[in-house]
């Protein structure tokens, strides 16, 4: 029984250390798939990476001043 607990505890420790240190939860730049993204401080991404560019989410588009300047403005 303790063998099972030890195995689980070591597996859990290894996984959480790996995930924590390699920041699996971070938003990966320029990547469409964000499987492990884990929002911090309730700060939700307001867009996603599609076809080589950042596309604003529908909620983001309801706010004014979208994208504010730069060559990508209004995209």
């Amino acid at each position: 029984m303790t063998k099972l607990f030890a195995l689980l505890a070591m597996l859990l420790a290894g996984t959480t250390i790996f995930y924590g240190f390699t920041q699996q939860s971070a938003l990966v730049l320029r990547q469409e798939q964000q499987n492990n993204h884990w929002v911090r401080h309730d700060t939700r991404t307001s867009g996603s990476y599609r076809g080589g560019g950042w596309v604003a989410s529908p909620t983001r588009q309801t706010y004014g001043g979208f994208r504010g300047g730069g060559p990508g403005a209004g995209k």
Binding site: T2, A6, T15, T16, W38, T45, G47, G70
Partner: protein, 331 residues
């Protein structure tokens, strides 16, 4: 015929797996404690951002690194009863947004009164944060944009919003580590809980009396035998009872006979009245060779004893070093 019993304190039967679960907890905790050593602060300042006029920070060179991520933490320093929706944006060298996150921050306060007492409450949720991991080395610019700024009635405010912004590189996500610590602690707790019950039960007998006997085939080298005697006693119990434990071999030859004093723990009702008592004796043996052994228990004085349980387990593991008596039966 038998040789004289030999008792020795030994750590030979400690359960390594229980200690491995504890080591897992310590390991993750150490990682948590040492995680900030990878962090390098890049920006730490307060900026004012006008609604709808994005504010840019100086460009930062991002590098792909094996440990940690770029962490942007923002704290909106707004007055009470205000709401602000702000966006953290990351732009590449061409000024294209490559990532963005929205935070709806607020700070509210009010007064309460209840049963003649009153006070002021304040609540807020002001901090926003984005962790990003680069896939290539490139310079990026962090932009802070106030999308909406209003009071609680919804009236827009056209004033700059102060933000405390901190940017660090090499930030480790400690939420995983906390999950690991909590999970491993839970498993360690379970392991600690089950270790005293480890091994195979050979005898498990219970009687509504003070004397109990049992016999079983057990023992052998490197086989720790745990003899547990649980006593249930009534409200008139003395502070301690004597438990005579006798072990005989297959020929009925007495190998061991010892009286142990067992302290009772008293159960009390809500009014503080004693309702009963429990006593527990645990003794460890190595019985050689593997054979039939008989166990006999007598609890004295027996007047208050309601129930006696005898449990004998073999192949046991322990949490701490224990006194083990070696008994050899010569047959």
């Amino acid at each position: 015929m038998s040789s004289a019993p030999k008792t020795q304190l030994t750590a030979r039967f400690l359960d390594p797996f229980t200690y491995l679960t504890l080591l897992s907890v310590v390991g993750v905790f150490a990682c948590l404690v040492f995680s900030p050593i990878f962090m390098r602060s890049l920006v730490s300042k307060t900026i004012q951002v006008d609604p709808d006029i994005p504010e840019q920070l100086a460009p930062i060179q991002l590098k792909k690194e094996p440990i940690g991520a770029l962490r942007i933490d923002v704290n909106a320093a707004i007055p009470e009863n205000h709401w602000v929706t702000y966006e953290i944006q990351l732009k590449d060298q061409q000024g294209q947004v490559i990532a963005s996150g929205i935070k709806q921050a607020w700070r509210e306060s009010g007064s309460w009164s209840e049963e003649g007492e009153s006070g002021i409450w304040t609540e807020d949720d002001l901090v926003g944060g984005l962790d990003v991991r680069p896939t290539k080395s490139e310079p990026i610019t962090i932009v802070l944009d106030v999308l909406e700024y209003s009071d609680i009635s919804g009236k827009e405010i056209d004033q700059p919003v102060p933000f405390e912004i901190s940017v660090v590189n090499g930030a480790v996500d400690t939420r995983y580590l906390w999950t690991g610590i909590l999970g491993a602690t839970f498993l360690a707790f379970l392991a600690l809980l089950v270790t005293p019950f480890s091994g195979k039960v050979i005898i498990d007998k219970s009687v509504g009396d003070s004397d109990i006997s049992g016999r079983g085939i057990l023992g052998g080298t490197n086989n720790l035998v745990r003899v547990s005697v649980n006593i249930k006693s009534d409200e008139h119990s003395p502070r301690s009872l004597f438990v005579l434990l006798v072990i005989n071999d297959g020929n009925g030859e007495q190998l061991y006979s010892k009286s142990h004093s067992v302290h009772l723990s008293f159960k009390k009702s809500e009014g503080g009245k004693v309702t009963g008592a429990n006593g527990k004796l645990s003794s460890f043996f190595i019985l050689e060779p593997r054979s039939s052994y008989g166990f006999h228990v007598e609890v004295t004085p027996d007047a208050t004893v309601d129930r006696t349980t005898l449990i004998v387990r073999e192949h046991c593991k322990t949490l701490f070093p224990v006194e083990v008596t070696t008994l050899k039966s010569i047959q």
